[in-house]
Symmetry: C2
Subunit: 107 residues, 2 copies
């Protein structure tokens, strides 16, 4: 029930939280303070989101003095990629729009 897919989809379904993750993907490691500046919500809210992201394996934290640096863990997205591929595989050559999707997936 609480499998990997669930955890990933649930974690990424909140826009604020996803924005934090996106920022970490774009900009690399950042402190809670830096993230809070752009998050549009309070510092406790950001900390809570980071905790959830960490629980899903999507970020790492590194303590340095009184600040905590967070960084994205791209590998955690693998189950999501696998799930999408699995859904696509069920459809092998069933519909035309499969072509388009496969083109996107293969780059």
């Amino acid at each position: 029930m609480t499998d990997a897919h669930d955890l990933l989809f649930k974690t990424l379904s909140d826009p604020t939280r996803r924005a934090i993750f996106e920022r970490l993907c774009r900009g690399g490691e950042q402190t809670v303070g830096a993230l809070t500046t752009h998050a549009g919500v309070s510092q406790p809210a950001v900390s809570k989101h980071l905790g959830i992201l960490k629980h899903a394996g999507l970020v790492r934290d590194r303590h340095e003095g009184r600040q905590t640096h967070y960084s994205a863990q791209l590998g955690a997205l693998a189950p999501l990629v696998d799930w999408t591929k699995e859904m696509a595989s069920f459809w092998e050559s069933r519909f035309d729009d499969l072509e388009d999707l496969l083109r996107r997936m293969d780059q």
Copy 2:
């Protein structure tokens, strides 16, 4: 704010709803009754989930007499694939586990 990514992640974040979508991907077109049999929730609950899936473009419905047939629309997953690829692109050659992810994505 309510962009395509949001709608997709939110729609797929519920396990019951995702299970319905997965079933449609695996088994192709099915009626509400058939889906209800395996969903583990009431028929109205299934109808509600189907409505949400439809709103996200993930399923189509086809009316035939008094029954409604639903089928998955794989193409709607494209934004999800694109988002994942975008996140990965931000990380180009930053970490070792990128290798692994790219291997999965390229099949």
